[in-house]
Symmetry: D2
Subunit: 249 residues, 4 copies
């Protein structure tokens, strides 16, 4: 098997505009996410891309050789060009894996793939979050205990307006009284999609060992299993069959 | 439309053996559940059946004229005859609705329909439970606010070993730190199934107005939409088609 | 219950440009579809709308009072404004039913809701189509025999690039050797969606009694079950809860 | 990775009782199926087991070291002991893959896992079958063209009374006019299940190269991704949490 080619995409805005975020993530949030994946998947080729690069760092050429893309965005959702969003969607349907992180629930690419509003309830109150594993045998939960905690995270709550997930891997408990489907799998076309809720910019979530393990597991799980460039072909009838549809039969 | 015919099944053991339960539910848990359904669905014909009756009160004749069955069982799961469990399963597949309550997750009938262990994690610690609505537009959540609370319930926790629900209506938060998929829908054959978690025998849960509303909503949602007595027919080929499969064509 | 308010949307291009189609559908395809629904659902309020009207006949006001929308489009998919497509999507997520017909598989609205390419294989060869019922107890199949035939239809074939349907109601057999998932259900947000494959413009499909019955059944099935205008609320923490997240606890 | 351990189970009755079947399958149907898997998965350890062996060749010890089990049964469904059926079910829920072949749709193990009748329509008329790939990128369809044909097979038809498959890989066309969901995936607990329809005993189906490829692909796809021996644990509350549920809070 060739090495898994992973692109970690970050919008890279909070880190530039907010000193508190820059202090936590001196290499950017994408830097920390990429580091975590490299730690658990040393054979993978992990690179990063950001909103500010030409084509947001996601040229057709680069996407064509990407196996799994991770996506963190928030303030800059609207700045992502429709063309790039559509390009990413097309690649997912062909087989590229996609890991959508935290506020990426409102990204163009996630909303396009889900077909729903992807809304949720939220609150920034520094609450403790406990993530429960719903299927201990799932590859994305490998190496994770029955649950694990983050001392402080943004609270996300139901209703989470997405199609019923194909598989529910995590559900979170928040000390303020909310629950949230924090780890969800879907297949779309030939691609695998995983949404993972933790990762508010003002907390050091992407340095947490469990979080890094889950993201790396998800990247491995979402690797392509074939490529399918679909079209809408006009299928010619075989001469043998054509007889059948002729008048008189 | 004919009136909806509802049978509320209760195993009726705790009420007979435990004075504390009898004090809370002097008419039996099934009595309280039936009363709640009648309150919200006054046009329905609601009757009860218990484990101790001949055929557990679920003769073939009675089931044949039942539209929706609710099921509460716990200590007596093993006492339910395989014959009756199979009969109920067959009726669900034909179109009868089934509402499985609380510890009914381990009933023969629910395990048969799910095909999985239906295990979960549990603790009796009188913890507060908060039920969140995952789809405010779902008929089972009609009239229910964004969430509601029960002051004390048995804590159920993930993993809940069931097939991915078709629709997730409720997820619960427990003050001790657990979460649970407390309201789940499935279709099997032509029947609709709803599992609803609250209802430990030592709490007055089935007198709670929200709980009663949800159960009544579920009963209305699970009403049959047609009847389908499936078989495994040997389908004769039409003479016209038979030509096609004869040698030489 | 108030009468069901149904809008039958037709792009109304083939009927204007192609004499053969105009001859089959002198009132337009939308006219024939509307007539069929009225025949089986006499209490419904059925009106039509076309691409050529202002806002394609789908103003915000009209959509707000529409319970179920049916959609036939083909040549004019690109002429539907993004604004109207988004408006329809929003209404479906709120609870409006949507019935997508035939070449509507490539409409903006269907692709938005599915999140996939919605491609398929096709051939116009006047082949016989036989539609099989996959669940005889499903409300959309009510009154339909085990299968029914259309003497000539456009052949659609797999792969049909959509998310796995929640329920499979019909699968079609074509005499030229293709199969197709011709009747599929999905829920998205609070809305119900049914895709139904028959209806190529050069055949009198929408006069067929079985086809009319299925579409009317689907309209009844897709009626709203509540309305849910979702938002993305910032949920304030209660003072009681706030204690919990303060340092020191 | 350790070599994949595959057990090919055959009821081995037709081969013993019917000379025509014995002539086609001199090593038994299980022998031909095992040979096919070995051909495409040379690194796998493939063995066979039959109904007539003690415990049907499926002792607890053997199952505990089996990664994927394939199942062909027909005349002897009732002879499979409930104990072995339950043991197989338990192993699937722990993570063992299960490939159910042809008339195995009516086996105890498949019906237990599906929870439905698993009925279908059938006809033995030597009709041509054409299997269509519904997702060309699915690992089970790897190496398979858009469709492939079997010159003669038993005709299976809808309705196929199973829960909606998680993924539809194949749908079949039969020359006599039937369609059938011939390749279906489900997850149950931690196990993957694939049902594959071809394989009537009087045709040499299990020597067909495409059939062998699909079965080998399915075996590889269904390999365990972890093991999960679930229980129903009483989860003790932590002392810290216990405070929360004490009266007065």
């Amino acid at each position: 098997m060739n090495p898994l080619r992973v692109v970690v995409w970050g919008e890279n805005i909070h880190e530039q505009q907010d000193a508190a975020v820059a202090a936590i993530y001196p290499q950017g949030m994408h830097g920390a996410i990429a580091e975590g994946i490299r730690g658990f998947l040393p054979a993978a080729e992990v690179s990063t891309a950001t909103l500010q690069e030409p084509e947001h760092g996601l040229s057709a050429e680069r996407l064509a050789t990407t196996d799994v893309l991770t996506w963190w965005g928030h303030r800059g959702h609207a700045e992502v060009s429709d063309e790039v969003a559509e390009r990413v969607q097309r690649r997912v349907l062909e087989g590229m894996g996609l890991i959508v992180l935290h506020s990426g629930h409102y990204s163009k690419i996630f909303k396009r793939l889900m077909g729903t509003t992807c809304s949720l309830t939220w609150r920034v109150a520094g609450e403790r979050e406990r993530l429960w594993v719903c299927n201990p045998g799932h590859p994305i939960a490998e190496g994770i205990d029955r649950n694990f905690e983050l001392p402080q995270e943004e609270t996300y709550g139901e209703p989470f307006v997405v199609p019923t997930p194909d598989e529910q891997v995590f559900i979170s408990w928040f000390e303020g009284g909310e629950v949230f489907r924090s780890g969800c799998c879907w297949r779309r076309g030939n691609g695998r999609i995983f949404y993972f809720q933790p990762g508010h910019e003002i907390y050091p979530t992407y340095f947490d060992r469990n979080i890094r393990r889950v993201i790396a597991n998800a990247v491995a799980w979402a690797r392509p299993h074939g490529r399918w460039v679909d079209s809408c072909p006009n299928a010619k009838i075989s001469p043998e069959r054509a007889r059948l549809s002729s008048p008189g039969v």
